[in-house]
Symmetry: C2
Subunit: 173 residues, 2 copies
Amino acid sequence: MKRLIVDMDDVMADATGQFINYYEKEFGVRIDRTILNGKGEGEGFPENHSTIAEFPYRENFFRTMAVNDHCQEVLENLNKKYEVFIVSAAVEYPMSLSEKLQWIKEHFPFLTWKQIVFCGSKAIVHGDYMIDDLVHNLEHFNGEKYIFSAPHNLHLNHFNRLNNWKEVGEKFL
Amino acid sequence: MKRLIVDMDDVMADATGQFINYYEKEFGVRIDRTILNGKGEGEGFPENHSTIAEFPYRENFFRTMAVNDHCQEVLENLNKKYEVFIVSAAVEYPMSLSEKLQWIKEHFPFLTWKQIVFCGSKAIVHGDYMIDDLVHNLEHFNGEKYIFSAPHNLHLNHFNRLNNWKEVGEKFL
């Protein structure tokens, strides 16, 4: 079985949407997702950048993220055909560890604890395929690299691109 | 820099000693560590095996483990010479995640969050050297494997053996 490594934030989970939700709760302004296109993570918001950087430290930020469309059914099928590992750079946000674990258990009950990796640097993992939204996670990977579209990476042309989970299914199933 | 992967329980931390402590608190009997030699993890205790298996789910079990002798100074020096990663199969015990992170921060302040990996299966990590007390963690590793002595592995002859942190220092520094 080939090993497929899948990221959480802005791949499985709509992290961008969660930032937009928290921004609206905090400042009463619902920003349009397209204004974030081509900007660094958190940098596309009109102002209050230091507050935005605090959102991931707040309780339930990771626990209540929406699942990206079609992720559940595609990943359930991938899990039958590949050795799937979920690899998340979660150690930066200590509170996220248990929230991310609960989130996976709720939305992806077919995954086991043996398939989950919470790390700092992803340079330590190896496999055949990696799907991630961040260039610095992909660039040290030994296998085939796929960038999953998120506003902060739309201007980049480093790797093969997957725009959504339907495209992930078409590519890998 | 060569990458050195180091396990936590029964390598950095005295997990065996913590089981003995919890056994004494629970049953009023202080067992001698040597009766555990050559027995599987948790199997060398005279009785109450189902209760022993619950200890790792109790609050503070991982947070209050003793640091193994000379681990701190040797690892601080290793950290200058190697790309050190701490890799712990912690996802099996969800409560251990934040406790292990706090434990590392308290006892090993020179390590950063980027160097910490909490996983299920260690088959996903790669590097040049791995120090671990469990055969099933070492056997899939691509680099040089070193078994760190613990009661449950003293009867095995699979890998190069390191008996304590002084020997780790002599080997790697």
